[in-house]
Symmetry: C2
């Protein structure tokens, strides 16, 4: 697509490095093999269906009314308007109004589920159906840890969070902008970000969306890793396309969306809504607008390339009606999340939402309550792709090291919960009950001894010791313990780092150097 | 039932004080009227049904096998054994084995739902069906706050927690042993505990269970408040009867159970299980044992008095297989909770479980994650009576002031979540979407202005301000803010305290003095 020569070379290296299973990939898997990783979640628990059939139909009908009467603006993109006109929509300036059912019809060409390939095939993820994929925090310009406090994030922080995500078994995905490396030029940092995901992890990752050419650079770099032919036929990138709510898709996002859709790469089509400001103050109103915006975006992706993988995204929180500040972990966004997941299933597309969201400035009780009150609803709602699974602090302004490992622990618990009930003979444990009988205990019985290792999720953060022992060990709170844990985890990355084919590495470096040399640094 | 004279006198006073609606009760309601209280929750969201029909049937069948083959011990209670023999069970020493279906059959006389009356009729609660009642922490011998640290709890702490529960809109119940007042003699403290619930609150409360005569004292005091005739015909007390798992009902609990059942008062029949020690290390095994123990206990209550209100209780956590310490907020107990709620619904009795459980020593992130991961599952599971809703710390050893108000905030959120979706015209907000249109905002639109006051749950603890403002205000964490809040809330009790009829108060004092004078203090 972009720079032919580069990609041809990269493609060959890519094929060598990966091929039909790939010797390098197998080496990488062995190299990282010392590290236990968890496969993406195949949920064995039902989705929590909270909104009634009548309620769902009502919101769908209202969303069609919004699309038909109010319409959606597609800004500064003549091509988009032309595509819509051609598809039968009514275009008035930049406002597009859609005949009832048009968007839903167009979305029929989107796959219900798809694979996003990782350079290590064992880390590839299936997005859709009863699967859930956890990805880390996305977007914060600041980083925070207990020692260094809050400061602008750097590429060093970026690499650290990529490494921490790699080291986290229940993070199935490396994510995208795990923090914004503001020490690098704004027009070049995407290169180092994409490179870091490839270099320090072998999990699937996200592409840049801040400009169409940066999206194209992301695809080009993926081609160097996976090979041209493979990228043409498969999804190797998933990228975040946010609506400019209410009811606007802007030039930047449309540009990136088109670049990825044309390359057959996946997009998370996400109305980003702080209800009360960008949507009505009610849950049903927010759901209606979310559905309308997401449908218009996903349908547009199908106009660009029928069959391009899209994910129905919903990021919804509310604001304090007193201060206007965003709030998290409150009940209304949970209701939006549950309902939106149902609407996505009815549309037949994968769903993205959730994450360990919070408004707190510290990895404290507020952060934890708020995060848990988004994380668990997201799991039970049946979210397929969960961005912001770990590390989010302060309304998404901060990537927190301590919170990252605390959240990672919670993700592990969610994965166990999603496994549901073991109703096997061993699970039923009738022999144990018979052996132990009334008034005794199970600590030493045969069944307990046989299941000793795997019984119960083992938290990396929780302190369950006696008060006396806890006090003797310093009386630390969870954040203080997390501080030690992230440092230890980060240090351990060196011995578990995935291998990268030197030829691919060289091609990536070459590509980045050439790109960086081609334009002056920009910082806005 | 117990001391005739006392009760006759109290009964008369009780009738005067309450009567058919009660002038004093109405005065109390007016007095407390400055305080907004929430009615118990009538859930408008479905229960999350996670365990399959096959799985439920399997566990029910296994529980019957446990009851039939292994049996349950009813210890040191000849009367209980005689009742079982008479009912057709096989009694071998203290071991009772039950023909398949016997317990389930006996439980048919238990009500599917019942009212527990409060002395202020507006605070009465309906237990069962789609209702949820939140009650505070129960049992801790220690109290903790940020200033005073961890120390043995006193009657002063007890009164404080009763006052805090009274001041908490989303605590529909005053609870029981909100902390153990260890400064009072063990054989007399129940009198001051019951009195505190009556004096400082007008919400429903729990009776003593530490000895049959203390249960009888609780009933006697209730008679002084409500009147004999009313207590004979209505439930005014609910009390906690824990199994001595595995598969033992002991003398103390059976004595209290009989006292309450005979008086027609409600009991929470609760297997208290740390899985791995008191039950198998598997979820299905724990569910099976929980069901068997609870069924035997509830059936026994029906033998004592058919129709006595009982609640199927489940307190299940797991232990660390490394240290044996109890753990909370992990996924396995959540699975037990969801499944047990389904089993209770199939039995046709109300269900008790959940609470804001945690192992943490501090009101920190660990406490909050763990608590949220029990609280939300309990709400979604459809728990009817939730003990330990607020204040629980350190595995139930500690009642925490800061955690109490932090949890109380979460309970308010759960109540909003349980309200489900507003699909009214106002909820749909189509006018707002039409008015605002693409690219604008909703802050000033007519719909937002009309819904300004009630839109979105408003947290009492969360800080949503900018980092700069938060820092300028001292950079406090949630626990530090909670410290200020509980002090302020406790201080405000004085102006909102419910009125107590002086005649009833005098009768209660008289009863307590007489009881206390009748025996020497005991401290073990």
């Amino acid at each position: 697509m972009n720079d032919g020569t580069e990609e041809e070379g990269g493609g060959r290296r890519g094929r060598r490095g990966r091929g039909g299973g790939g010797a390098a990939a197998r080496r990488a898997a062995r190299r990282g093999g010392g590290l236990e990783q968890l496969k993406f979640i195949e949920r064995r628990i039902p989705a929590y269906e909270i909104l009634s059939e009548d309620g769902l139909a009502l919101i769908e009908d209202n969303a069609e009314t919004v699309l038909q009467e109010v319409g959606i603006e597609f800004r500064s993109d003549a091509e988009a308007l032309a595509l819509w006109r051609q598809a039968g929509a009514e275009v008035d300036g930049e406002r597009v109004r859609f005949p009832r059912g048009l968007c839903r019809k167009l979305i029929e060409t989107a796959p219900a589920r798809f694979t996003q390939h990782a350079r290590n095939p064992e880390r590839s993820v299936e997005i859709g159906g009863a699967n859930t994929v956890f990805a880390p925090v996305y977007g914060p310009p600041f980083a925070h840890d207990l020692e260094g406090g809050r400061r602008y994030a750097t590429i060093e922080d970026f690499r650290n969070f990529v490494k921490l995500a790699y080291m986290t078994p229940a993070l199935h995905h490396s994510g995208g902008t795990v923090c914004e490396p503001v020490d690098l030029p704004v027009n070049k940092r995407h290169l180092d970000m994409v490179y870091s995901h490839i270099r320090y992890s072998d999990k699937p990752f996200m592409g840049s969306v801040t400009a169409p050419e940066r999206a194209e650079d992301s695809v080009a770099m993926a081609r160097l890793v996976f090979g041209d032919g493979f990228v043409d036929e498969n999804c190797v990138l998933i990228s975040l396309i946010n609506a400019n709510s209410p009811m606007v898709w802007d030039e930047t996002m449309l540009g990136a969306l088109k670049a990825y859709a044309r390359a057959g790469q996946a997009t998370l089509i996400t109305p980003f809504i702080l209800a009360g400001a960008m949507a009505p103050v009610t849950v049903a109103g927010t759901l209606t607008q979310t559905l309308a915006e997401a449908m218009a975006g996903m349908a547009f992706a199908q106009l660009v390339r029928p069959g391009a993988p899209v994910v129905f995204g919903s990021f919804a929180s509310s604001i304090s009606m007193q201060s206007g500040a965003p709030t998290f972990g409150t009940p209304e966004p949970a209701l939006v999340l549950f309902g939106a997941a149902q609407l996505a299933r009815r549309l037949g597309v994968p769903f993205r939402s959730g994450g360990s969201l919070c408004a707190s400035k510290l990895p404290d009780a507020q952060a934890a309550y708020e995060s848990a009150q988004t994380l668990l609803p997201a799991l039970l709602a049946g979210v397929n792709f969960m961005l912001h699974g770990a590390g989010w602090l302060e309304g998404g302004l901060v990537s927190s090291y301590e919170k990252f490992v605390m959240d990672a622990d919670q993700l592990g618990m969610m994965q166990t919960l999603a496994g549901g009930y073991d109703l096997s003979e061993n699970g039923q444990a009738m022999d144990a009950i018979r052996e132990v009988g009334p008034g005794s205990h199970y600590l030493g019985c045969a069944h307990t001894r046989a299941n000793f290792e795997t019984a119960f999720y083992r938290s990396a953060i929780a302190d369950n010791n006696s008060f006396e022992q806890w006090e003797a060990e310093g009386g630390l709170d969870a954040a203080q313990r997390a501080h030690g844990l992230w440092k230890q985890t980060l240090a351990a990355h060196a011995e578990h780092a995935p291998e990268l084919d030197p030829g691919i590495d060289e091609a990536l470096q070459e590509f980045m150097t050439k790109k960086k040399d081609s334009m002056p640094d920009a910082f806005t």
